[in-house]
């Protein structure tokens, strides 16, 4: 399983990567949507962690581009702000989950498991 992490904030991104690694999940991190879209491939089991409070390319555009590439990967939207506007954006994207920062590790892992129907190795 691969988790695509897209967040423009370095610390946040690295944090997520470390968290995934501590949970034993492989992750690929990108600081902007363009570099992600250039790299993405259809995977059997993957999901996208997308920060929708990034400048430049907005969430809907990413979704549109994914559709155009015929990639059908579930998107978990994460947002620094939790307000009506963000939730609407997320819904419009057709995102499966909406999480607002700061994000609890268990919540994130549960979300990932749910959207990918993959069991996550539990903590020992």
């Amino acid at each position: 399983m691969v988790i695509y992490i897209i967040d423009d904030d370095d610390a946040v991104r690295t944090g997520f990567v470390r968290l995934m690694s501590s949970a034993g999940i492989k992750s690929l991190a990108y600081d902007c949507a363009e570099s992600f879209l250039a790299d993405v491939k259809q995977e059997t089991s993957a999901c996208i962690l997308l920060d929708i409070t990034m400048p430049r390319m907005t969430g809907p555009e990413v979704q549109a581009r994914l559709n155009a590439m015929n990639l059908n990967l579930p998107v978990i939207t994460i947002s620094a702000t939790d307000d009506e506007g963000s939730r609407d954006t997320a819904r419009a994207l057709g995102a499966r989950m909406f999480l607002s920062k700061p994000i609890d590790d268990q919540a994130l892992l549960d979300a990932i498991r749910w959207v990918t129907n993959t069991p996550i190795p539990s903590k020992k």
């Binding site: 423009d8 904030d9 610390a11 946040v12 690295t14 944090g15 997520f16 470390r18 968290l19 690694s21 501590s22 949970a23 409070t53 990034m54 400048p55 907005t58 620094a80 702000t81 920062k101 700061p102 994000i103 609890d104 590790d105 903590k123 020992k124």
Partner: protein, 739 residues
Amino acid sequence: MSWIDTLWPVMNGASLALSLIYFCVWLKQRNQPISLVVVAIALTSAAIGIIEHDLLRASTPEHYEVFLRWAHVPFAINLIAVIYFVNRHLKLGRAWLGNLAITARLLCVAANFTTGANLNFTKVTSLDRIPFPGGEYVVFPVGTPNPWLVLAQIAHALFIAFLVDAFLSARKIANANNRRRALFVIAGLILFVLALWLWTFSVVMGLVHAPLLFEPFFLLVLLIISYEMGSEVLDSAETKRQLLAAQSDLYKNRERMDIALNAAGVGFLEWDFTTGKVMLSEVSSNALGLAPKGSYTCSEFIAAFHPEDRARIEKIPEAPADVREFAFECRISGSGYYDGRWVGSRGRVDLDTDGSAIRMYGVLGDITARKRTDEKFQLVLEAAPNAMLVVNDDGVITFSNWYADTVFGYARNEMIGMKMGMLILSGNKKTIELNWLPNLSKSSTQVIGYGRELIGLKKDGAEFSLEASFSPIPLETEALSIVTVVDITERKRVEQQIELSRIELAHLSRVALIAELSGSLAHELNQPLTAILSNAQAGIRFMNQTPPNLAEVNVSLVNIVESDKRAGDVIRRLRAMLRKEPMLSKEVDINEVVETVLRILGSDLALRGVEVDMQLMPDSAIVEGDAIQLQQVILNLIINGCDAMKGLTGTRKISIVTARSSDNAIEVKISDIGAGLTTPDSDYVFEPFVTSKPDGMGLGLTICRSIMQAHRGRLWLTNNTERGATSHMLLPSCEQRDT
């Protein structure tokens, strides 16, 4: 007819004429008995002449004896009258000497009638004839001289002595004319009397064969005396003529003076301190309210004045020795302070030899009109709503109005006589130099103290800030200035209050800005928090692995620390913006300010979907001011630009440019591509409470402008040629400020 018979009557006639003349003079001037004396001299001269005439034609010695005897009477009277004339009228010669001469002469007369035929002869024995020129002949006596004739010699001698003494005294007469005349007269008298004495003695003693002649001598004496009297008459006529002329002049001058005084509205005043009499002309007495009787007693005069002013008038006679002039302005009695009549007077004081005043004289007139004007002037000053002082050219206060008394804390009129320099000081506590007077001769008002701290000193020693202006009033008599004083303590207090309010408002505005940015601030803090949480929870998982992956835990902890610091920075910037401090004044780089602002905004711009295009000038743009306040302005302008582009669908772009202007100032331009200004040329948007935001207060731009002004800069808005508006900030650069 023989010429003797003509000559003698002529001489007698002359004598009689003169006696008549002087009799008429005496009739005119009864108080001059001297005229009678001259009448006596003249009459006796005529009598002697008649007798002599007869003696010259005498037929018998007995006839001669009798007539000669009677001749002594007018003889004596004449000589006594002459002595009297010299002593009493000419005031020459010692009286006792004259009296002796008179006594001797009287004794002669006594001897004349009691001894022998007459004083000269005991007996006339015969009469001889002598031929006179012209075929005439006269008689002369021959006989035995009377031994008592010695009395006559003594009398003559005494008479001569008296005349000589008179002559010597005459030399001391001061007036040259009078002296000359007196000497001439006395000398003449001496001469003729001597001649008479010698002649009669010679004839009587038989030394000379000639008739007794005395009438010519007496006539000459009479003529000399007439000359003296005549001269006196002429002199007195001349004096009288001069007096009349002088009187006429005086009268004319008096008339002129009266006209002049009347025209000036003043009258004459003369007060003789020794007699206590006061003379007033009609104008003066009218001004004083007295009946016009010309002459008044001292008490009547003083009573005409107001009781409170009388003491001043009474002091005038006691003026010190060096006071040669006087002047006073007083109220007259029967009047109150405001409706009373005033008189003014000035003039000279005459002093005695010991320096005490004996008399004053001058002019006096009604000065009520002028006093009313003075009073009106004072009333105007009294009513003025400002503290006003009138200061003379010595810097002494001559008047202070009620307001000024209150401001300085003195009682009514207490400040009069004080030096203004004791009440108003310059900021460094030195008294104001009063050489401002020459500058004020151009009559313009100067505000001194404007922009300069002046300090006022109250009566109780308290100091207060004030502003003073000086207005000169040039008068012919003296230079006065009106000083208006404004206590600016309250104003300064209010100014301080305003400054505090301004700081308060700027602070609140900053707080409001920050509140606007709260969304992005939350975001700013949220990012590090997220990273911290992720790292922490990862760390826990790594710890729970078997074996625990301490290396990863370490990395996680390091990341946590970094993120924490990042969050701390955000808090620090926030605190800086929220501080309420008075404006700092330091060297600030505008480029750094712009960069700090963008860091504060951080992801807010991303949230709003705004791109920023920065073009900062390459060299440093140093200005002097408060970095936080300048950040506030730039932040506000950027947010305004973002708000202007809210409705835009396409790309939203803010461009920030810093540059050096043509005159070396620093320029910051913040441009957006929004809708632009509706009124680009007016300053309407800078008015308080003007806003296009539904929930805005509308104070942002107002405060920004006031911050710019406090930095000696400018702020204005323009519409771009294409789309949007630009905010312009202009600040003096540090180098520029120094020049």
